[in-house]
Structure formats: C-alpha cells, structure tokens
C-alpha cells in the first residue's frame, strides 16, 4: 500500500461513525435492489420449474378453447392419427388441508407417461401397485415433501379444490433423483387421470394432451395428421407458449417494483456524495499540502475515488448479504401479490441467481463511485496551500447555487420533454422521473438559501439570537446542509408521491367497486387467484341457491381464459341483470345503443387496460378461438375496470353460449326481494348448500371489503420499499449532520468558550436541524405532487392502462412535513448531544 493510500485509510478509520453510516446507506440501497430482484427471480424460477415439471419432455400440446378438451380427442389422436408419443393430462391447483401451501395436482396415465416425465417412472413404476394407483383415489407425493408434512404411505390427504374437499390416499412416494428434481416436484401431487377428473369435477375431460413431435419433415407431417384429427376449437401449440405468456403477465409489475427498489439506492447516492464532499472539505488543507509536496491532481482524484470505491465495496458486500436475507421475507410478499393478481405460484425457497448478485455489486459500486466523482474533482481544485484557508468552499456553493438551480431547471425540462414525447415506454418514464428528482436536488441549495433567509427574522423573533444564528448557519454551511436537505426531500417527496398514487388508486378502486357491485349477494367458489376466479360452481349448488326464499333475481358470470391471436385472453360472459348498464361505465361507447343489443347481437366490450395493451378502439374487433373456430367479434365499447391489468373481454352469456360449448358458471349475483333482510338471506343460502361444494357467499359490502383488503395487500411491498427509502434518507441526514457537527467543532468550541452553555449549544444544533427538516418537508410537497402526477397519469397508465383520479388528501401533506421534521430532529439529537458535551478547550486546540 502506498503512503497516500495509507493516509486515506487512516482518515477513513478516524471517522468510523461517518464511514459506517455511509457503508450502511450503500448496504441498504444495494440490499433493497438485490432483494427485489432475487424475490422476482425466485418467483419466476419457481413458476418455470413447476411449468417444466408438468410439461416434462413434451414439445407440443393439444388444448381446447376454454381450458379443457374432451378425452375422446386423445383416443382420436392415438387411434386415428396413430401418434404413440402422446399422453393425457389433467392438471390444476389444490390445497392440502394439513398445510396451507398450494400444490400442483397432475393427473397422468401411467402407461402413456414413460417418455414424458421421467420422475413419474422413477418412483411411480417401482414402489407402487399400478392397479391401486389407477383405480382408487390415490396420490403420490415427493418423499421430502411428505416427510416435511409428517405424512406416510397409507395416510389420507384431504385435497381441497374450488371448494370441494376429497380424501385421497397417499399411495407412494417419489424419490427425487437430483436437487433440481427435488425442487421441481416439491409442490406436486401426482394422481391418475381419472382421479384428477374426479378431483376437478371434470369427468370425461382433459386439461390437455401432451405430444413429443420430432423436428423436421416427419414432425410437420405428424402435426398435420394430428390437426386433421382434431375437432373444431382444439389446437396444437408449442409447449413453451404457456410459460412465455404467463411470464409476460407480470412484466409491468416486476418493472415497477424494480424501479421503486432503485429509489433507496438513489437516496444512498446522496449519502455517499455527502460523505465524500465532507471528507474533501475537511481535508482541503491536507490535500493542499500534499499538492505542495508534489502530489498531482490526478493522484488526488484517484485517491478520493478510491476511498469511495472502498466504501462502495464494503457497503455492497454487506448489501448483498443483507439483500439475500431481505429477499427471503420479500419473496413471500411478492408471491402473495402474484397469486392475488396473476397466477398461482408457490415459492418455497429463494433462488440466488449469480447474475442478480453481479448486477447488484456493479450497481452498488458504480453508484458509489459515480456519486464521488464531483467531490473528487472538487478535491483536485483544493488550492496548493502553504497556509490554511477557511470557509472558501462555503461561499463557493452559495455562488454556485443559482448555476445549480439553472442546471436543475434544464434537467427538469429534459425530464418533462421525455415524458411528453415518448408514448409507451415505462423505462423511459422512470428515467424521466429520475431526471426530475435530480433536478429538484439541484434546485435545493437555492431554495434553502431563500427559505432560510425568509425564516430568519421569524425564528429570530421567536427564539432570539440563537434562532437567527441557526437560520444563518444553514446557509453558511450550505455545502453540507444543502445535500442533507436534498436527500431528505427526495425521500419524503417519493413517499408523498407514491402515497398519493396509492391513495388515488385506492379511491378510484373504491368508487369503481361501489359502482360495479350493485347486487345484494355474491357467490363464487374459493379461488387461488383472487382477481381471476375462474373456478366453476356446481350445477346442484346453483339450483339450490336460486330456490332460496327471498331471492328476487340472479345473474351469472362466466370467466374463462381463451386463446386469441393477441395471446391468452380473459373472456367474461355475463347475464344482463337489472343494473348491468350501471355496473359497466363506458370510457368510449354509447350505453343507449349497446345495452339493448347485448345478448341479441354478437359483439364484445373490452376493458380499458385491454384496449390500451392491444391498442384497440371501438370499431375494431377481437379475434377469439371458439368451439366454432376462430371468430372475430366487433368491439362496441371500452369500459372502466380496475380488476385486472391484463384486461378483460366482456360479452353476453348468450353470445358466449353461441360460440362455446361450456355451460359452467364461475359466479352468480343475487338480488334480494325488498322485504328480505340480506344477512338473513345469506344465512339461508349458506344453510341451503351446507355439505355441498364449499362456495363463498357474501354481501356486496363484504365482497367490497375483501377486494380492498386484497388491494391493500398488493401494495404492501410498495409500502415496505417506501419505508426503506426513508430509512436510507434518515441515515443520510444523520451522517450529514454528524459531518456538519464535526466540521464545526471549532466554532462550537468558540461559542462554548465565550459563554454558551452546553444546553444552549444543544438547543442551537437541534433548532438548526429541525429547521432543515422543515425546509426539506416544505420542498418535498411540490416535488411529491409532481411525482404523484407522473406516477398516476404517466407510469400507471403506461404500465397498466388505467385511468385514475388523482386525489391528494390534506393529511398526506401534513404527514410529509411531520416526517421530514421528525427525521431531521431525531437525526440531529446525537450530533447535538456530541457538540454540547464537547470540551471547548479540546475544540480550540485542534488546528
């Protein structure tokens, strides 16, 4: 190590608090980014693994229109097309009553399985009795999973699917051959096709038929043969198609989480900038002496950058470890959200992707070094000194403030231009948002000067000389206070922005729910994905419910996923109820013209996100794969819907039945007779279907509350990320104040020597830090509003296609002020205490 490096290292270790806080700030920033990435990757890996598990070696699949296909098709493929490499599959999700984990139920034909899913043969062929497996309700579980759940061969599993609970005997265990297989089959319940049909109440139907089709000419001929044997509505598709489309569902969701996770790192960058600036300002004299001794500017530059890199490396290392720990907690939140919104995924462990760690490391060290470039350049400008000079830096920043502000205005203009000029890109929108944040930070020094000057007489009148000094101090040490205020402001403004966005979103959803839940009672089977409840209600249950005394009328809804050239599409078929025209509020389209035709003419309505995603308008048409072949249905209206960001195609029940053979019902809404109490009706309904399929019967109020609960749950992770950014900002303010205190030790020594009591010094420092908090709080309000505006009208729109009503609750603003002042006040306590107790003699002796 060279002497220069040694000198650096000693300086760093002489300020353990400051360096420690910086390392912590970097560590937290990196941890948040890495943990979100790890959690996202883990969820996606878990999904892929489970998809691979059930797909096995199949290259193609034969699928139906609405999620199932007649089992006769399998016979035709085997017999008529003569394809031996084919296997019937019935699959779905279930919960086991002994654990609340979600399991994937895979129903297969053991005779056809051989070439498809090797793990089935590995365990299934050996240990168990084939006739038993095939006839009775029996299942196989992975050996480690059974062991974990304390299950043994011969035990009874109680399998719950869409409200029906069926006992199944555990007939054998599958020994995973490798770690990968172990993870892949950890959530698998393997049953015979006929057992699966019974479990899912799908007698005579298959989810799909798996095929292994060779490449090239033979394969093409084989596919042609299969296609000719298929009935209308059934199709052959590549196996990967499903995984790909499912992965696409969460793209916008992942992207937004990633962007939000970067916030903590951005705030962390302020912290590093502040620490390095402090260390440079404090060492101006020392650097000047080194320069006088013949150390070049370049050497000084590298030295400061090296110090930052060291902090970055240590902080990033810690951050990676912390990120892995944090990911374990976050992954469950993310998995929950994905389950609520998109599809079923069960994540038992996190996948530590090396690429994620590498990205995190590069990002952490890169950000740290980048944040140190300006202070490092500042260091090279230290005058080659033979005598000590003081406070030149401070006047510089005050002179610089207007220039910085000018740059800020320019940057903000660039950000705004990007927002206005780009159409769809979410990444660019976030880029623009970052520009706006940095622009606001650049405007901060000037705003601080103006506000401190303005508040000085007020504070003076309130607290005397001490107050005037405190206000003056904020300005005279602007290089320190400016950065602290900026960091705090950015963090608080982000909290305000995200908070207002969530509030606006929630408000919009509340009024939408109130609008769309018009009936008195809603019934649906329990579903694993809340927003996409496409489970089927038993015919018998429907009949009983309709006959309960007090029911005035009812209308059903059917929710299926159908294929279309635009990818899998959620198709919702509704019976027109008395208030259907109020339930669906049109963004585009004429209700008077649409509703009278609903049911008689064949057309669809699409939800706002669907229209946005696929760039469709009234007058266009949607092509759907039906049991009557591919059909193009015209779009007559675009309606508001906040239930699914993937979008929904809505049609009438009669149109649906014209094109599809499916007669299932996913949900049913009831109107009570005027003389009937709704709660009593619900109780009667529950009584009427007791012992049958377990369906959820609830009032519109209860459904609304549940929906909002889920809504709030999907934003939990956002709230966690917001909080973490504020924590980093708090550390930033603390470190800035500590730096300030250290730097002004001498000044405080003089104050103490001239008769200021420790208490007065403490009061002075606290007053000053609270003032900084107040300034940051006030500045964060307009910035927070701008962020909220961009989040609501640009980013949400681009990510999900929703129109939201921006609404700012006055409390949010008050809370922001409070948060800023409280953070600064708390962060100021320790430095204030330190300054108050510092001995004047000691402080004065230091050079």
């Amino acid at each position: 190590m060279s002497l220069l490096q040694r000198s650096s290292l000693r300086y760093l270790t002489q300020h353990p608090w400051l360096m420690g806080l910086s390392v912590l700030g970097v560590a937290l920033g990196v941890a948040v980014v890495v943990s979100i990435d790890l959690a996202n990757t883990s969820a996606s890996t878990a999904f892929q693994l489970s998809a691979e598990t059930v797909t096995g070696k199949a290259t193609h699949q034969v699928v139906g229109t609405t999620g199932s296909i007649d089992e006769d098709v399998y016979r035709r493929i085997r017999m008529e097309a003569g394809v031996q490499l084919s296997a019937p599959v019935v699959e779905g999700y279930a919960t086991l009553q002994s654990s609340d984990r979600t399991f994937q139920v895979l129903g297969v034909d053991p005779f056809a399985e051989g070439p498809f899913r090797p793990y089935v043969r590995a365990g299934g062929g050996g240990g168990i009795d084939l006739p038993t497996f095939m006839t009775r309700n029996t299942a196989l579980l992975s050996q480690p999973t059974a062991e974990q759940a304390g299950l043994q061969v011969g035990d009874t599993l109680r399998v719950s699917i869409e409200g029906r609970t069926i006992p199944v005997e555990l007939a054998g265990l599958i020994e995973p051959e490798s770690e990968r297989t172990r993870r892949a089959i950890a959530n698998l319940v393997l049953v015979d096709v006929s057992t699966a049909q019974a479990l899912f109440d799908q007698t005579g139907r298959l989810t799909r038929i798996d095929l292994i089709v060779p490449d090239g000419e033979t394969g093409e001929q084989m596919l042609a043969g299969i296609r000719s044997a298929l009935p209308e509505g059934a199709r052959v598709q590549r196996s990967e198609t499903r995984t790909e489309t499912v992965e696409q569902m969460t793209r916008a969701f992942d992207l937004n989480l990633t962007a939000l996770s970067l916030l903590a790192l951005v705030v962390g960058a302020f912290l590093i900038y502040n620490t390095m600036t402090f260390s440079v300002v404090q060492r101006r004299g020392l650097i000047g002496r080194l320069r006088a001794l013949g150390v070049t500017r370049r050497q000084i530059f590298r030295l400061v950058l090296g110090e930052a890199a060291l902090l970055g490396v240590v902080g990033t290392g810690l951050g990676l470890l912390l990120g892995i720990a944090l990911a374990t907690g976050l992954v469950q939140l993310i998995a929950q959200t994905i389950n609520d919104l998109y599809f079923v995924v069960s994540v038992q462990e996190i996948t530590i992707a090396p690429w994620t760690l590498l990205k995190g490391a590069l990002l952490g060290i890169g950000t740290t070094v980048a944040a140190a470039v300006a202070p490092a350049r500042e260091a090279t400008n230290a005058p080659v000194s033979t005598v000590l000079q003081r406070s030149t830096q401070e006047t510089n920043l005050q002179d610089l403030a207007p220039k910085l502000a000018g740059a800020g205005v320019g940057l903000a203009a660039v950000g705004a231009a990007v927002l206005v000029l780009t159409e769809q890109s979410i990444i660019l929108s976030y880029g623009a948002l970052l520009f706006i944040l940095v622009a606001a930070a650049l405007l901060t020094p000037m705003a601080v000067v103006a506000m401190a000057r303005g508040i000085r007489p007020v504070l003076g009148a309130l607290t005397g000389v001490l107050g005037r000094m405190a206000a003056r101090g904020v300005v005279s040490t602007l290089s320190r206070t400016g950065v602290a205020v900026a960091a705090l402001m950015v963090a608080v403004a982000s909290t305000v922005g995200v908070g207002v966005m969530i509030d606006s979103f929630r408000g919009t959803v509340v009024s939408w729910l109130t609008q769309s839940l018009q009936a008195d009672v809603y019934v649906q089977p329990p579903s694993l994905v809340f927003r996409r409840s496409d489970a089927t209600i038993d015919e018998a249950v429907l009949e009983r419910l309709r006959q309960v005394h007090g029911v005035a009328s009812s209308h059903t809804v059917r929710r299926v996923s159908v294929e279309s050239p635009l990818g899998p599409t959620e198709l919702v078929a509704v019976e027109q109820g008395p208030e259907t025209d109020e339930v669906y509020q049109f963004k585009v389209g004429e209700p008077e013209a649409v509703w009278p035709d609903f049911g008689t003419k064949n057309f669809v309505l699409v939800s706002e996100p669907y229209a946005y995603r696929h760039d469709l308008a009234v007058g266009d048409s949607v092509a759907l794969q039906t049991d009557r072949g591919m059909q193009r249905l015209p779009i007559r209206a675009v309606y508001y819907d906040y239930g699914s960001d993937l979008g929904v195609v809505l049609t009438s029940r009669s149109t649906y039945e014209r094109f599809y053979d499916d007669r299932g019902v996913s949900g049913i809404a009831f109107y009570a007779r005027d003389d009937v109490d709704v709660d009593a009706l619900i109780a009667d309904m529950r009584g009427a279907v007791g012992g049958m399929q377990d369906v959820i019967i609830r009032s519109n109020k209860a459904l609304r509350e549940t929906s909002l609960k889920i809504f709030d749950r999907t934003f939990t992770i956002t709230t966690v990320l917001r909080l973490l950014a504020v924590v980093v900002a708090f550390i930033g303010v603390l470190s800035a104040l500590m730096a300030l205190a250290l730097e002004r030790r001498r000044e405080f020594g003089v104050l103490r020597a001239t008769g200021m009591t420790p208490k007065q010094v403490g009061g002075y420092v606290t007053l000053q830090t609270s003032l900084m908090g107040l300034i940051a709080g006030v500045l964060s309000l307009p910035l927070g509003y701008v962020l909220a505006y961009v989040l609501v009208y640009v980013i949400n729109k681009r990510s999900f296609g929703w129109t939201l009503q921006l609404s700012v609750a006055p409390e949010v603003l008050g809370q922001a002020l409070l948060l800023a002042v409280a953070a600064a006040f708390l962060a100021g306590l320790y430095p204030a205490w330190q300054m108050a107790r510092s001995s004047p003699a000691l402080a004065l002796r230091e050079e």
């Binding site: 060279s2 002497l3 220069l4 040694r6 650096s8 001794l293 013949g294 370049r298 033979t386």
Partner: protein, 247 residues
C-alpha cells in the same frame, strides 16, 4: 536603488535559479496591484540566501512562484535547465516533487501519516524504492534529532519538533533547491533558533542551495547573501527597518 542588485547579473554556468522580468499582479477590486514588479534574480548552486522584507512585501508570493505552486503574470522562472512558466500544472507538480524541498511557516505535516511516513512521502512520490528510501528517511530523521519519534503522529509533537520533521522532509528527496517560508514564524525565539541551526547545518553539510524567507537576524551571520524584497523588486543587504523594528 532601481538597479537589479541581486546576483552578478550574468548567467553563470553554476547558477541554479534564474528569475527574469518576474511580475505578479493581484486583482484588487477594479484595479491590478503588482506585488512583484519586473523582478530579476540569480542564485548559484550551493548558495545560501536569506530573503527579508516587510510582512506583505511579497516573500511568500515569490517563493510560491519559484516552487511552481503559482504562476507569474509575466516573466520566467528557470531552475537548472527548466523554465517553470512553460510547464503545465501537472508538469510543474512533477518537477516540484523531485527538485524542490519546501518548508512552510505552518509546518504542514500530513496529519494522517506518521513522522517517518511524512519523510518517506516525497521519496515515494519520486519513485525511490522503499528499502533504500526507508534508510534514507531514517538517517535524515536522526540528523534532525528525532530518530526515536518515527512512529509518532505529528499531533503528538511540539511545534519545534514538527518543524524539524518538515526540515527532514524537505531534504529527504535530495532536491536541487530548498525553499523555506518563515520557518520560525510559528515558533518561540529559542525553538526557532534551534530549528534554524539544524536547517543551516544540514544544508551546509549536504552542500544544498537554500532560499529562506525570515525575519531572524541570526541567519545574517551564517548565510552567503542577504536580499530584501521591497517595492516589488529585490535589493542587496538587510533592510534598515529591521534594525529599528527589532530593537
């Protein structure tokens, strides 16, 4: 009085420092004020020159120009074969690093390096290998009487001791020219004398060229030449004011 009184006027082969037409002006409000005004000087190799002058007369300014820390408004600063005014900032730094030892009024030790490391620093910067450098540093530390303080940090040392370290540091890298700017300015009389004795002894022993700005008359007996900075130019001999003010 207007004659260039410093040096013999013709550039001798043995001259190590040549200042030609050296002018330094500072902007003061609306107008420029010349601190150094067309100053001429030559110093021969091995010469020991004392620079006197009132506070504010421009001594520090002159020394900073000679060391390349600062650039003149016009004129040239030639050290050996090199004209510092034609060099870039970095080139001047590299030149200073290897050819000039500087002793400051305010010691200017590096607080984060030990005494021994402070002395090693110029050696390391000039790329002298560490084993040899350490020996060199230790021997010079012995010479200034601080052989046992090598591992202490500067803030543990008294002012006189710190300035002795600075002397050792200035000499460590075997520079062409040693500059000292009021090396006793921050020390009491006795201590100042001790430091000056050590400095002049060392310089004389090593045969180095030394230019020292000071008010201390003790050096008048020991130096080769005395010059006084007044009105922006140099004059031979000690100034008259010194006699009256030091009485």
């Amino acid at each position: 009085m207007t004659e260039p009184a410093f040096g013999n006027g013709s550039p001798a082969v043995s001259s190590i420092l040549r200042l030609r037409g050296l002018t330094k002006t500072y902007r003061e409000g609306e107008s420029d004020r010349a601190v150094l005004d067309d100053l001429e000087a030559t110093i021969d190799e091995g010469e020991f020159v004392v620079l006197m002058g009132r506070s504010g007369s421009g001594k520090s300014t002159l020394l900073n120009l000679v060391s390349g820390i600062d650039l003149p408004t016009s004129g040239t600063v030639e050290i050996g074969e090199t004209d510092l005014t034609t060099l870039s900032e970095t080139e001047r730094t590299l030149f200073r690093r290897t050819h000039i030892g500087f002793i400051f009024q305010s010691f200017n030790l590096i607080s984060t390096l030990t005494v021994a490391e402070n002395i090693l620093l110029p050696l390391e910067l000039s790329g002298i290998r560490s084993g040899q450098a350490e020996e060199q540093a230790l021997s010079i530390l012995e010479r200034v009487g601080l052989g046992d303080r090598g591992d202490s940090f500067p803030d543990r040392l008294s002012g006189g001791e710190q300035q002795r370290v600075a002397v050792a540091r200035a000499l460590a890298a075997d520079p062409l020219l040693i500059l000292a700017d009021e090396p006793t300015g921050n020390l009491d009389y006795e201590t100042g004398r001790q430091v000056l004795t050590i400095l002049t002894d060392l310089v004389t022993d090593l045969g180095k060229t030394l230019l020292v700005a000071t008010h201390d008359r003790m050096l008048l007996d020991r130096c080769d030449r005395v010059v006084t900075l007044h009105g922006g130019t140099l004059h031979d001999g000690a100034p008259d004011f010194l006699e009256s003010s030091s009485a």
